[in-house]
Amino acid sequence: MKKFRALILVFLIFLMSGCGKREYSKVEFLMDTVVEIRVHHKSKAEAEKAINNSMEEMKRVEQKMSCFLPGSEVSRINKEAFLEGKKTPLSAERRLPVSDELFSLLEKAVLLSEFTKGRFDITIFPLWKIWKFEGENLEVPEKVEIERALKLVNYHKMILKSDKISFAEKGMGIDLGGIAKGYAVDAAVRVLKKENINSAMVNAGGDIYVLGRKQGKPWRIGIRHPRREGEILGTIEVEDRAIVTSGDYERFFFSEGKRYHHIINPKTGYPADECQSVTIVAKETTFADGLATGIFVLGPSEGMALIESLEGVEGVIVSKEGDVSTSSGLVSKIEYVNQK
């Protein structure tokens, strides 16, 4: 036995050094973007099973939450949640039942609307429909069209009560585009945790959650520079956190020399123009996703005040002039590369 003591010791050191954990990853096209899941784990079979299961979970969420898939629960709500000819849409039997999962997400969306004073609003669907950012003919809608749609955008007119939903006006609808990706990331992370994975990253087109640490160190996430493509504004070190950025550079088109991007202000009906980008770091991706959108519309000063008032939420805001502001809890964790 004595002879092998050194050998056993070396073997133990080898195991403990973390060399036993390898990285496994998979990329899929989901939720209209590229989704990557990376896992650090000792067993290949377990890691691959966990990755596949969490991809499946994201597919399930997409099927349920998309307002563009005709069979989804959200599409059904948009079709049926206003009951025509009924004078009392508030009476319980006139409302449409919603699954527990979607109902709690809708409640979260309302909370985000409250926080952002209605700048994040899932009832934006009528506006989104006329701007047609999903389609191929990008043009600015007529002013009258926008005014008509604006009247239907107001989360107070979406009535949620005891697992049921109804809309107060005809033509209303919900679009979870502002939080569905974040929610899908959280759902994927829940599956990874259930599969005993403790070091992983789920990245749905830049909406990121990092689970645990990477080889004993925090993960390093870059924040895209809003005006220089392919360049980084700075990097942050994080663990067990969501990082989501909303920017005006993602989807846009030009019309008569003016640039129109995809983050529509639910109060004006036109693209929000106070910020270039907003990055939120939070415990939940769903929350970070909605906050990034809402704060982008809210603007730098009110936005930063909101970030500072929320526990466990940090952020970076780039104003329309290109000025960068960092929340107090992030100052020591962020390293700027190109601040101007």
Binding site: L7, F29, D32, V34, E36, I208, I221, G222
Partner: protein, 134 residues
């Protein structure tokens, strides 16, 4: 200056034969991995092309060629030339993939979302970052 190992490590003689074998084996393993890591890497010499839900295909960047793939909306033409790769032609609407131009560094990618086509350069990603939020 003495070149004898014994003069540098006076207690070396206390090592048994098995100790020496062990040290030799460890040094050999370490150097094998060291050499493999730094000299025989495939860094940036291969691209991965993923179409829809199919598993990604490896494409060598050493041989110039054109590859036609069938995307969701139609044909996408990928060109490999002198160690670089680009999308030359695509049936998509906005042509973001075509406008991305050439890529050749590990971690760089070209995405055509409408066609569900992804081209990435193989190799270790940027050592300073794990991902980018955008």
């Amino acid at each position: 200056m003495s070149l004898l190992l014994r003069d540098w490590f006076p207690r070396l003689s206390m090592l048994t034969r098995n100790d020496r074998i062990l040290i030799f084996v460890l040094v050999a393993i370490a150097s094998f991995y060291f050499v493999r890591l730094f000299f025989v890497s495939n860094e940036g010499r291969e691209a991965l092309v993923k179409v829809g839900s199919n598993p990604p295909q490896k494409v060598s960047l050493e041989i110039n060629k054109r590859i036609n793939v069938e995307g969701e909306k139609g044909r996408v033409v990928i060109e490999v030339k002198e160690g670089r790769v680009r999308v030359v032609e695509s049936s998509c609407f906005q042509k973001i993939c075509v406008n991305t131009g050439w890529i050749n560094k590990p971690g760089q990618n070209i995405v055509c979302l409408p066609n569900k086509v992804l081209v990435t350069i193989e190799g270790k990603k940027s050592p300073t970052m794990d991902a980018v939020s955008y």
